[in-house]
Amino acid sequence: MAAIEAHGLSKSFGGRPACRDVSFAAERGEVFGFLGPNGAGKTTTLRMLAGLYAPDAGSARVAGCEISPGRPGGAELRARVGLLTESPGFYDRLTARENLLYFAELQRAPQPGRRCDALLDRFALREHADRPFAELSRGMKQKLAIARALVHDPEVILLDEPTVGLDPEATREVRGLIADLAAGNATIVLCTHHLDEVERLCSRAAFIAGRLVGIHEIRRGNLVRIELAEPFQPDAVRALCRSLRVSGTSLFIEPLADVPEIVAALVRAGARVAGVTPQQDRLEDAWLQLLAEARAA
Protein backbone atom coordinates (compact mmCIF):
# COMPACT_ATOMS: atom_id res chain seq x y z
CA MET A 1 0.00 0.00 0.00
CA ALA A 2 1.34 3.43 -0.96
CA ALA A 3 2.22 5.87 1.84
CA ILE A 4 0.79 8.75 -0.19
CA GLU A 5 -1.90 8.53 -2.84
CA ALA A 6 -3.17 11.75 -4.37
CA HIS A 7 -5.99 11.90 -6.90
CA GLY A 8 -6.66 15.13 -8.79
CA LEU A 9 -5.76 17.52 -5.96
CA SER A 10 -6.69 21.08 -6.88
CA LYS A 11 -6.56 24.30 -4.89
CA SER A 12 -7.18 27.93 -5.71
CA PHE A 13 -6.97 31.12 -3.69
CA GLY A 14 -9.36 33.96 -4.41
CA GLY A 15 -10.31 32.37 -7.73
CA ARG A 16 -6.68 32.06 -8.82
CA PRO A 17 -5.64 28.43 -9.23
CA ALA A 18 -2.50 27.52 -7.27
CA CYS A 19 -2.38 23.94 -8.46
CA ARG A 20 -4.76 21.62 -10.24
CA ASP A 21 -5.19 17.97 -10.93
CA VAL A 22 -2.16 16.67 -9.06
CA SER A 23 -2.18 12.86 -8.92
CA PHE A 24 0.65 10.63 -7.82
CA ALA A 25 1.53 7.84 -5.43
CA ALA A 26 4.63 7.48 -3.28
CA GLU A 27 5.56 4.11 -1.87
CA ARG A 28 6.69 3.53 1.69
CA GLY A 29 10.38 4.31 2.03
CA GLU A 30 10.49 6.18 -1.27
CA VAL A 31 12.04 9.61 -1.74
CA PHE A 32 9.71 11.38 -4.13
CA GLY A 33 10.59 14.73 -5.67
CA PHE A 34 8.36 17.70 -6.48
CA LEU A 35 10.01 19.81 -9.14
CA GLY A 36 8.86 23.04 -10.63
CA PRO A 37 9.54 26.75 -10.83
CA ASN A 38 8.64 29.19 -8.05
CA GLY A 39 4.88 29.64 -7.77
CA ALA A 40 4.19 26.35 -9.57
CA GLY A 41 2.02 24.99 -6.74
CA LYS A 42 4.54 22.73 -5.04
CA THR A 43 4.19 24.29 -1.60
CA THR A 44 0.40 24.38 -1.89
CA THR A 45 0.37 20.67 -2.71
CA LEU A 46 2.71 19.97 0.19
CA ARG A 47 0.50 21.94 2.58
CA MET A 48 -2.52 19.93 1.46
CA LEU A 49 -0.60 16.72 2.15
CA ALA A 50 0.40 18.08 5.57
CA GLY A 51 -3.24 18.74 6.48
CA LEU A 52 -2.92 22.52 6.52
CA TYR A 53 -5.25 23.12 3.56
CA ALA A 54 -8.25 21.20 2.36
CA PRO A 55 -8.29 20.70 -1.41
CA ASP A 56 -11.01 22.35 -3.48
CA ALA A 57 -11.27 19.15 -5.52
CA GLY A 58 -9.66 15.74 -5.49
CA SER A 59 -8.63 13.63 -2.56
CA ALA A 60 -5.57 12.07 -0.99
CA ARG A 61 -4.63 9.43 1.52
CA VAL A 62 -1.51 10.22 3.51
CA ALA A 63 -0.20 7.66 6.02
CA GLY A 64 -3.67 6.17 6.09
CA CYS A 65 -5.48 9.47 6.72
CA GLU A 66 -8.03 10.82 4.25
CA ILE A 67 -7.92 14.36 2.83
CA SER A 68 -10.82 15.70 0.80
CA PRO A 69 -12.66 18.98 0.12
CA GLY A 70 -13.70 20.52 3.44
CA ARG A 71 -11.67 17.89 5.35
CA PRO A 72 -8.01 18.85 5.52
CA GLY A 73 -7.12 15.93 7.77
CA GLY A 74 -7.01 16.45 11.50
CA ALA A 75 -4.65 15.95 14.39
CA GLU A 76 -4.24 12.29 13.47
CA LEU A 77 -2.75 13.23 10.09
CA ARG A 78 -0.51 15.88 11.62
CA ALA A 79 0.76 13.27 14.09
CA ARG A 80 1.90 11.06 11.23
CA VAL A 81 3.41 13.74 9.02
CA GLY A 82 6.52 15.82 9.60
CA LEU A 83 6.68 19.10 7.71
CA LEU A 84 9.79 21.15 7.00
CA THR A 85 8.44 24.58 6.17
CA GLU A 86 10.09 26.84 3.61
CA SER A 87 11.27 29.17 6.36
CA PRO A 88 12.63 27.64 9.62
CA GLY A 89 10.13 29.58 11.78
CA PHE A 90 11.27 29.40 15.40
CA TYR A 91 11.09 31.75 18.37
CA ASP A 92 14.15 34.01 18.51
CA ARG A 93 14.24 34.41 22.30
CA LEU A 94 14.05 30.70 23.04
CA THR A 95 17.11 28.49 22.83
CA ALA A 96 17.47 25.81 20.17
CA ARG A 97 16.58 23.15 22.73
CA GLU A 98 13.59 25.06 24.13
CA ASN A 99 12.25 25.55 20.63
CA LEU A 100 12.63 21.88 19.74
CA LEU A 101 11.15 20.76 23.06
CA TYR A 102 8.13 23.04 22.53
CA PHE A 103 7.28 21.40 19.22
CA ALA A 104 8.05 17.92 20.61
CA GLU A 105 5.51 18.50 23.37
CA LEU A 106 2.94 19.91 20.96
CA GLN A 107 3.38 16.76 18.85
CA ARG A 108 3.10 14.62 21.99
CA ALA A 109 6.40 12.91 21.29
CA PRO A 110 7.07 10.22 23.90
CA GLN A 111 9.85 11.30 26.31
CA PRO A 112 10.22 14.64 24.53
CA GLY A 113 13.36 15.70 26.40
CA ARG A 114 15.27 12.56 25.45
CA ARG A 115 13.97 12.70 21.90
CA CYS A 116 15.20 16.31 21.57
CA ASP A 117 18.62 15.48 22.96
CA ALA A 118 18.94 12.55 20.55
CA LEU A 119 18.04 14.76 17.59
CA LEU A 120 20.36 17.55 18.71
CA ASP A 121 23.16 14.98 18.84
CA ARG A 122 22.22 13.48 15.48
CA PHE A 123 22.22 16.91 13.81
CA ALA A 124 25.42 18.04 15.55
CA LEU A 125 23.58 20.84 17.36
CA ARG A 126 24.22 19.75 20.96
CA GLU A 127 26.88 22.35 21.64
CA HIS A 128 24.58 25.09 20.33
CA ALA A 129 21.48 23.79 22.15
CA ASP A 130 21.51 26.53 24.79
CA ARG A 131 22.04 29.42 22.41
CA PRO A 132 19.03 31.59 21.50
CA PHE A 133 17.65 30.65 18.10
CA ALA A 134 18.37 34.15 16.76
CA GLU A 135 22.11 33.57 17.26
CA LEU A 136 22.31 30.38 15.20
CA SER A 137 23.68 30.34 11.66
CA ARG A 138 21.33 29.80 8.72
CA GLY A 139 22.56 26.23 8.31
CA MET A 140 22.01 25.45 12.01
CA LYS A 141 18.52 26.94 11.83
CA GLN A 142 17.70 24.73 8.89
CA LYS A 143 19.04 21.63 10.62
CA LEU A 144 16.95 22.48 13.67
CA ALA A 145 13.90 22.80 11.42
CA ILE A 146 14.59 19.36 9.94
CA ALA A 147 14.95 18.01 13.48
CA ARG A 148 11.55 19.50 14.29
CA ALA A 149 10.00 17.71 11.32
CA LEU A 150 11.32 14.43 12.75
CA VAL A 151 10.67 15.07 16.42
CA HIS A 152 7.55 12.86 16.58
CA ASP A 153 9.02 10.13 14.37
CA PRO A 154 6.55 10.61 11.49
CA GLU A 155 5.77 8.06 8.79
CA VAL A 156 5.79 10.70 6.06
CA ILE A 157 8.26 13.59 5.90
CA LEU A 158 7.49 16.58 3.69
CA LEU A 159 10.49 18.80 2.98
CA ASP A 160 9.81 22.18 1.40
CA GLU A 161 12.92 23.70 -0.20
CA PRO A 162 15.34 22.29 2.38
CA THR A 163 18.44 23.93 0.92
CA VAL A 164 17.10 27.30 -0.16
CA GLY A 165 19.27 30.20 0.98
CA LEU A 166 22.04 27.98 2.33
CA ASP A 167 25.72 28.35 1.49
CA PRO A 168 27.40 25.45 -0.36
CA GLU A 169 28.79 23.90 2.82
CA ALA A 170 25.46 23.98 4.62
CA THR A 171 23.69 22.77 1.46
CA ARG A 172 25.98 19.76 1.32
CA GLU A 173 25.41 19.04 5.00
CA VAL A 174 21.62 19.24 4.69
CA ARG A 175 21.65 17.04 1.58
CA GLY A 176 23.68 14.51 3.51
CA LEU A 177 21.08 14.56 6.27
CA ILE A 178 18.28 13.96 3.77
CA ALA A 179 20.24 11.09 2.25
CA ASP A 180 20.56 9.61 5.76
CA LEU A 181 16.81 9.96 6.26
CA ALA A 182 16.22 8.31 2.91
CA ALA A 183 18.25 5.34 4.09
CA GLY A 184 15.64 4.87 6.83
CA ASN A 185 12.12 3.65 6.19
CA ALA A 186 10.28 6.98 6.12
CA THR A 187 8.53 8.19 2.99
CA ILE A 188 9.96 11.54 1.97
CA VAL A 189 8.52 14.14 -0.39
CA LEU A 190 11.21 16.60 -1.38
CA CYS A 191 9.94 19.84 -2.84
CA THR A 192 12.55 21.90 -4.69
CA HIS A 193 13.44 23.70 -7.87
CA HIS A 194 16.99 22.29 -7.87
CA LEU A 195 17.15 19.51 -10.47
CA ASP A 196 20.46 18.19 -9.17
CA GLU A 197 19.02 17.77 -5.69
CA VAL A 198 16.25 15.56 -7.03
CA GLU A 199 18.69 13.64 -9.25
CA ARG A 200 20.84 12.83 -6.23
CA LEU A 201 18.18 12.01 -3.69
CA CYS A 202 14.92 10.91 -5.33
CA SER A 203 13.76 7.78 -7.07
CA ARG A 204 10.98 9.59 -8.93
CA ALA A 205 10.00 13.19 -9.49
CA ALA A 206 6.72 14.88 -10.31
CA PHE A 207 6.99 17.98 -12.48
CA ILE A 208 4.53 20.63 -11.40
CA ALA A 209 3.84 23.85 -13.25
CA GLY A 210 0.39 24.88 -12.02
CA ARG A 211 -0.68 21.33 -12.77
CA LEU A 212 1.06 17.99 -12.81
CA VAL A 213 3.03 17.89 -16.06
CA GLY A 214 4.40 14.40 -15.63
CA ILE A 215 6.21 11.95 -13.40
CA HIS A 216 9.73 10.91 -14.25
CA GLU A 217 11.60 7.91 -12.94
CA ILE A 218 15.19 8.73 -12.11
CA ARG A 219 17.42 5.96 -13.37
CA ARG A 220 20.91 5.59 -12.16
CA GLY A 221 21.64 2.61 -14.43
CA ASN A 222 23.44 2.69 -17.78
CA LEU A 223 21.75 4.93 -20.30
CA VAL A 224 23.05 5.04 -23.86
CA ARG A 225 22.60 7.70 -26.49
CA ILE A 226 22.61 6.55 -30.11
CA GLU A 227 23.00 9.40 -32.56
CA LEU A 228 21.48 8.76 -36.02
CA ALA A 229 22.35 10.50 -39.26
CA GLU A 230 18.65 11.03 -39.98
CA PRO A 231 15.34 10.51 -38.12
CA PHE A 232 14.32 6.86 -37.88
CA GLN A 233 11.51 4.86 -36.24
CA PRO A 234 13.37 2.39 -33.97
CA ASP A 235 10.58 -0.20 -33.60
CA ALA A 236 12.99 -3.00 -34.48
CA VAL A 237 14.99 -2.57 -31.24
CA ARG A 238 12.23 -1.84 -28.72
CA ALA A 239 12.26 -5.42 -27.48
CA LEU A 240 15.99 -5.12 -26.77
CA CYS A 241 15.58 -2.07 -24.51
CA ARG A 242 14.16 -1.55 -21.03
CA SER A 243 13.24 1.95 -22.13
CA LEU A 244 13.56 3.89 -25.33
CA ARG A 245 13.02 7.58 -25.91
CA VAL A 246 13.34 9.40 -29.24
CA SER A 247 14.40 13.02 -29.35
CA GLY A 248 15.00 14.18 -32.96
CA THR A 249 17.85 12.10 -34.33
CA SER A 250 18.86 10.89 -30.85
CA LEU A 251 17.76 7.64 -29.25
CA PHE A 252 18.08 7.33 -25.46
CA ILE A 253 17.97 3.68 -24.47
CA GLU A 254 18.35 1.57 -21.38
CA PRO A 255 19.69 -1.61 -22.98
CA LEU A 256 18.49 -5.09 -22.11
CA ALA A 257 20.84 -6.66 -24.66
CA ASP A 258 24.49 -5.83 -25.49
CA VAL A 259 24.82 -2.37 -27.08
CA PRO A 260 26.64 -3.68 -30.24
CA GLU A 261 23.76 -6.12 -30.77
CA ILE A 262 21.24 -3.22 -30.58
CA VAL A 263 23.32 -1.11 -32.98
CA ALA A 264 23.52 -4.05 -35.40
CA ALA A 265 19.74 -4.49 -35.23
CA LEU A 266 19.25 -0.82 -36.00
CA VAL A 267 21.61 -1.00 -38.97
CA ARG A 268 19.82 -4.12 -40.24
CA ALA A 269 16.52 -2.24 -40.02
CA GLY A 270 17.93 0.55 -42.18
CA ALA A 271 19.07 3.16 -39.67
CA ARG A 272 22.30 5.10 -40.27
CA VAL A 273 24.12 5.20 -36.94
CA ALA A 274 26.45 8.17 -36.52
CA GLY A 275 27.66 7.53 -32.97
CA VAL A 276 27.09 5.80 -29.65
CA THR A 277 27.85 7.44 -26.29
CA PRO A 278 27.11 6.47 -22.70
CA GLN A 279 24.68 8.97 -21.24
CA GLN A 280 23.50 10.03 -17.82
CA ASP A 281 19.75 10.28 -17.36
CA ARG A 282 19.51 14.04 -17.32
CA LEU A 283 16.49 15.29 -15.48
CA GLU A 284 16.80 18.59 -17.25
CA ASP A 285 16.19 16.90 -20.62
CA ALA A 286 13.18 15.06 -19.28
CA TRP A 287 11.81 18.26 -17.73
CA LEU A 288 12.20 20.22 -20.96
CA GLN A 289 10.67 17.43 -23.01
CA LEU A 290 7.69 17.11 -20.67
CA LEU A 291 7.18 20.86 -20.75
CA ALA A 292 7.32 20.87 -24.54
CA GLU A 293 4.82 18.00 -24.71
CA ALA A 294 2.53 19.77 -22.28
CA ARG A 295 2.65 22.97 -24.30
CA ALA A 296 2.03 21.09 -27.54
CA ALA A 297 -0.98 19.33 -26.00
Binding site: F13, G14, R47, A50, G51, L52, Y53, A54, P72, A75, R78, A79, V81, L83, T85, S87, P88, G89, F90, Y91, D92, R93, L94, E98, Y102, F103, E105, L106, Q107, R108, A145, R148
Partner: protein, 254 residues
Protein backbone atom coordinates in the same frame (compact mmCIF):
# COMPACT_ATOMS: atom_id res chain seq x y z
CA UNK B 1 -1.46 20.94 25.44
CA UNK B 2 -2.78 24.34 26.51
CA UNK B 3 -0.22 24.32 29.35
CA UNK B 4 2.58 23.79 26.82
CA UNK B 5 1.47 26.84 24.83
CA UNK B 6 1.03 28.89 28.03
CA UNK B 7 4.46 27.95 29.37
CA UNK B 8 6.15 28.90 26.11
CA UNK B 9 4.28 32.22 25.90
CA UNK B 10 5.24 33.15 29.48
CA UNK B 11 8.85 32.15 28.85
CA UNK B 12 8.98 34.39 25.80
CA UNK B 13 7.38 37.23 27.74
CA UNK B 14 9.90 36.84 30.56
CA UNK B 15 12.67 37.26 28.01
CA UNK B 16 11.15 40.44 26.56
CA UNK B 17 12.23 43.14 29.06
CA UNK B 18 11.22 46.01 26.78
CA UNK B 19 7.68 44.69 26.46
CA UNK B 20 7.43 44.12 30.22
CA UNK B 21 8.74 47.63 30.87
CA UNK B 22 6.24 49.16 28.46
CA UNK B 23 3.48 47.18 30.17
CA UNK B 24 4.59 48.38 33.62
CA UNK B 25 4.88 52.04 32.65
CA UNK B 26 1.14 52.71 32.46
CA UNK B 27 0.27 51.29 35.92
CA UNK B 28 3.18 53.25 37.33
CA UNK B 29 1.75 56.51 36.00
CA UNK B 30 -1.79 55.60 37.05
CA UNK B 31 -0.59 55.11 40.64
CA UNK B 32 1.94 57.90 40.90
CA UNK B 33 -0.04 60.82 39.43
CA UNK B 34 -3.06 60.84 41.79
CA UNK B 35 -1.03 59.99 44.90
CA UNK B 36 1.47 62.78 44.16
CA UNK B 37 -1.38 65.14 43.34
CA UNK B 38 -3.05 64.42 46.66
CA UNK B 39 0.25 64.84 48.48
CA UNK B 40 0.77 68.18 46.78
CA UNK B 41 -2.75 69.33 47.61
CA UNK B 42 -2.27 68.37 51.25
CA UNK B 43 1.08 70.02 51.69
CA UNK B 44 1.25 72.90 49.23
CA UNK B 45 -2.10 73.82 47.69
CA UNK B 46 -3.84 76.92 48.92
CA UNK B 47 -7.18 76.59 50.67
CA UNK B 48 -8.87 78.10 47.61
CA UNK B 49 -7.87 75.15 45.40
CA UNK B 50 -9.22 72.71 47.92
CA UNK B 51 -12.42 74.66 48.18
CA UNK B 52 -12.95 74.80 44.42
CA UNK B 53 -12.40 71.04 44.07
CA UNK B 54 -14.87 70.42 46.86
CA UNK B 55 -17.39 72.66 45.09
CA UNK B 56 -16.84 70.96 41.72
CA UNK B 57 -17.70 67.55 43.13
CA UNK B 58 -20.18 68.86 45.68
CA UNK B 59 -18.39 67.12 48.51
CA UNK B 60 -19.15 68.01 52.07
CA UNK B 61 -17.84 65.00 53.87
CA UNK B 62 -16.77 65.17 57.48
CA UNK B 63 -13.11 64.78 58.35
CA UNK B 64 -11.56 67.81 56.74
CA UNK B 65 -10.55 68.76 53.19
CA UNK B 66 -7.76 66.17 52.79
CA UNK B 67 -10.05 63.27 53.63
CA UNK B 68 -12.71 64.69 51.32
CA UNK B 69 -10.32 65.03 48.43
CA UNK B 70 -8.83 61.61 49.12
CA UNK B 71 -12.34 60.21 48.99
CA UNK B 72 -12.99 61.99 45.69
CA UNK B 73 -9.84 60.59 44.14
CA UNK B 74 -10.70 57.14 45.41
CA UNK B 75 -14.05 57.19 43.61
CA UNK B 76 -13.17 59.20 40.51
CA UNK B 77 -9.94 57.40 39.68
CA UNK B 78 -11.39 53.89 39.78
CA UNK B 79 -12.28 53.74 36.03
CA UNK B 80 -8.60 54.28 35.28
CA UNK B 81 -7.86 51.03 37.08
CA UNK B 82 -10.43 49.36 34.86
CA UNK B 83 -8.61 50.60 31.77
CA UNK B 84 -5.45 48.74 32.86
CA UNK B 85 -6.76 45.16 32.66
CA UNK B 86 -8.16 45.82 29.18
CA UNK B 87 -5.19 47.70 27.80
CA UNK B 88 -2.29 45.65 29.19
CA UNK B 89 -3.25 42.24 27.73
CA UNK B 90 -3.72 43.89 24.36
CA UNK B 91 0.00 44.68 24.28
CA UNK B 92 0.69 40.95 24.37
CA UNK B 93 -2.39 39.41 22.78
CA UNK B 94 -2.42 41.60 19.68
CA UNK B 95 0.90 39.96 18.79
CA UNK B 96 -0.52 36.51 19.35
CA UNK B 97 -1.48 35.51 15.83
CA UNK B 98 -0.02 38.34 13.74
CA UNK B 99 3.28 37.96 15.56
CA UNK B 100 3.40 34.24 14.81
CA UNK B 101 2.68 34.99 11.18
CA UNK B 102 5.34 37.70 11.05
CA UNK B 103 7.98 35.39 12.58
CA UNK B 104 6.92 32.58 10.22
CA UNK B 105 6.14 30.33 13.19
CA UNK B 106 2.44 30.05 12.42
CA UNK B 107 2.78 27.33 9.78
CA UNK B 108 4.95 25.02 11.91
CA UNK B 109 2.63 25.64 14.86
CA UNK B 110 -0.50 24.78 12.87
CA UNK B 111 1.23 21.70 11.43
CA UNK B 112 1.37 20.17 14.92
CA UNK B 113 -1.35 18.25 16.76
CA UNK B 114 -2.22 21.19 19.01
CA UNK B 115 -5.91 22.12 18.91
CA UNK B 116 -7.30 25.55 18.08
CA UNK B 117 -8.78 25.82 21.56
CA UNK B 118 -5.43 25.09 23.21
CA UNK B 119 -3.69 27.77 21.14
CA UNK B 120 -6.34 30.42 21.86
CA UNK B 121 -6.54 29.58 25.59
CA UNK B 122 -2.79 29.28 26.08
CA UNK B 123 -2.11 32.60 24.41
CA UNK B 124 -5.02 34.31 26.17
CA UNK B 125 -4.03 33.23 29.67
CA UNK B 126 -0.42 34.20 28.96
CA UNK B 127 -1.59 37.70 28.06
CA UNK B 128 -3.94 38.01 31.03
CA UNK B 129 -1.70 36.76 33.84
CA UNK B 130 0.91 39.56 33.74
CA UNK B 131 -1.77 42.17 33.02
CA UNK B 132 -3.84 41.17 36.04
CA UNK B 133 -0.77 40.89 38.26
CA UNK B 134 0.29 44.42 37.31
CA UNK B 135 -3.25 45.76 37.81
CA UNK B 136 -3.53 44.20 41.27
CA UNK B 137 -0.09 45.39 42.37
CA UNK B 138 -0.92 48.88 41.11
CA UNK B 139 -4.26 48.82 42.99
CA UNK B 140 -2.55 47.81 46.24
CA UNK B 141 0.05 50.56 45.83
CA UNK B 142 -2.64 53.14 45.01
CA UNK B 143 -4.78 52.26 48.02
CA UNK B 144 -1.77 52.26 50.32
CA UNK B 145 -0.58 55.58 48.88
CA UNK B 146 -3.93 57.33 49.23
CA UNK B 147 -4.40 56.01 52.77
CA UNK B 148 -0.91 57.07 53.75
CA UNK B 149 -1.31 60.63 52.42
CA UNK B 150 -4.85 61.00 53.81
CA UNK B 151 -3.71 59.62 57.11
CA UNK B 152 -6.68 57.27 57.45
CA UNK B 153 -8.11 54.12 55.88
CA UNK B 154 -10.10 55.32 52.85
CA UNK B 155 -9.42 52.41 50.48
CA UNK B 156 -10.27 49.78 49.53
CA UNK B 157 -14.00 50.21 49.87
CA UNK B 158 -16.67 47.80 48.57
CA UNK B 159 -16.70 49.27 45.04
CA UNK B 160 -12.91 49.03 44.77
CA UNK B 161 -12.78 45.48 46.09
CA UNK B 162 -15.47 44.36 43.66
CA UNK B 163 -13.98 46.24 40.71
CA UNK B 164 -10.45 44.99 41.24
CA UNK B 165 -11.19 41.39 42.20
CA UNK B 166 -14.21 40.66 39.98
CA UNK B 167 -14.46 43.26 37.24
CA UNK B 168 -10.73 43.39 36.40
CA UNK B 169 -10.46 39.72 35.35
CA UNK B 170 -13.62 40.06 33.27
CA UNK B 171 -12.25 43.16 31.57
CA UNK B 172 -8.87 41.49 31.03
CA UNK B 173 -10.66 38.63 29.31
CA UNK B 174 -12.58 41.15 27.22
CA UNK B 175 -9.47 43.04 26.10
CA UNK B 176 -7.63 39.83 25.36
CA UNK B 177 -10.47 38.21 23.43
CA UNK B 178 -10.94 41.42 21.42
CA UNK B 179 -7.23 41.41 20.62
CA UNK B 180 -7.29 37.75 19.55
CA UNK B 181 -10.29 38.43 17.28
CA UNK B 182 -8.62 41.47 15.72
CA UNK B 183 -5.25 39.72 15.49
CA UNK B 184 -6.77 36.79 13.62
CA UNK B 185 -8.17 39.19 11.00
CA UNK B 186 -5.50 41.88 10.72
CA UNK B 187 -2.16 40.93 9.21
CA UNK B 188 0.03 43.60 10.78
CA UNK B 189 0.56 43.10 14.55
CA UNK B 190 1.03 46.84 15.12
CA UNK B 191 -2.21 47.65 13.33
CA UNK B 192 -3.93 44.89 15.32
CA UNK B 193 -2.60 46.40 18.54
CA UNK B 194 -3.80 49.89 17.66
CA UNK B 195 -7.22 48.68 16.61
CA UNK B 196 -7.63 46.50 19.71
CA UNK B 197 -6.64 49.41 21.92
CA UNK B 198 -9.74 51.32 20.83
CA UNK B 199 -11.76 48.98 23.10
CA UNK B 200 -10.62 51.06 26.09
CA UNK B 201 -12.19 54.23 24.72
CA UNK B 202 -15.62 53.79 26.40
CA UNK B 203 -13.90 53.44 29.78
CA UNK B 204 -11.70 56.44 29.11
CA UNK B 205 -14.86 58.42 28.26
CA UNK B 206 -16.41 57.32 31.57
CA UNK B 207 -13.26 58.45 33.36
CA UNK B 208 -13.36 61.86 31.70
CA UNK B 209 -17.04 62.39 32.56
CA UNK B 210 -16.42 61.17 36.09
CA UNK B 211 -13.45 63.49 36.60
CA UNK B 212 -15.40 66.38 35.09
CA UNK B 213 -18.08 65.81 37.70
CA UNK B 214 -20.73 65.08 35.06
CA UNK B 215 -21.51 61.60 36.31
CA UNK B 216 -20.97 59.68 39.50
CA UNK B 217 -20.45 55.94 39.13
CA UNK B 218 -21.53 53.84 42.07
CA UNK B 219 -21.51 50.15 43.04
CA UNK B 220 -24.70 49.52 41.05
CA UNK B 221 -23.02 50.68 37.87
CA UNK B 222 -20.04 48.39 38.48
CA UNK B 223 -22.31 45.39 39.14
CA UNK B 224 -24.19 46.06 35.88
CA UNK B 225 -20.91 46.57 34.03
CA UNK B 226 -19.63 43.23 35.31
CA UNK B 227 -22.74 41.46 34.01
CA UNK B 228 -22.46 43.12 30.60
CA UNK B 229 -18.74 42.42 30.28
CA UNK B 230 -19.25 38.76 31.26
CA UNK B 231 -21.77 38.35 28.43
CA UNK B 232 -19.49 40.17 25.99
CA UNK B 233 -16.63 37.88 27.07
CA UNK B 234 -18.60 34.76 26.20
CA UNK B 235 -19.54 36.17 22.79
CA UNK B 236 -15.98 37.27 22.02
CA UNK B 237 -14.44 33.94 23.07
CA UNK B 238 -16.88 32.07 20.83
CA UNK B 239 -16.06 34.46 17.99
CA UNK B 240 -12.30 34.13 18.58
CA UNK B 241 -12.47 30.33 18.34
CA UNK B 242 -14.69 30.48 15.25
CA UNK B 243 -12.39 32.98 13.51
CA UNK B 244 -9.32 30.92 14.31
CA UNK B 245 -9.61 28.95 11.10
CA UNK B 246 -6.28 27.26 10.47
CA UNK B 247 -6.44 27.44 6.69
CA UNK B 248 -7.67 31.02 6.59
CA UNK B 249 -4.93 32.16 8.95
CA UNK B 250 -2.31 30.79 6.57
CA UNK B 251 -3.86 31.96 3.33
CA UNK B 252 -5.48 35.29 4.13
CA UNK B 253 -2.42 37.30 3.10
CA UNK B 254 -2.80 35.87 -0.38
Amino acid sequence: MMRVVLRKELLELRRSPVLLLSMASLPLVVVAVPVLLLAWLVHAAPEQALASIKDLYDVHAPGGPVVAIGGILAVKWLPMFLVLPIFLPILVAAQSIGGERERRTLEPLLATRVSTLSIVLGKSIAAMVPALAMTWIAAVLFCAGIDAVAGRLLLPDAAWTFAILVLSPLLALFGNAAAVVVSSRILDPRAAQNLSATTVLPLVALLVFELAGRISLGPRFYFALAGGVALADLALIALAIRLFDRERLLTRWR
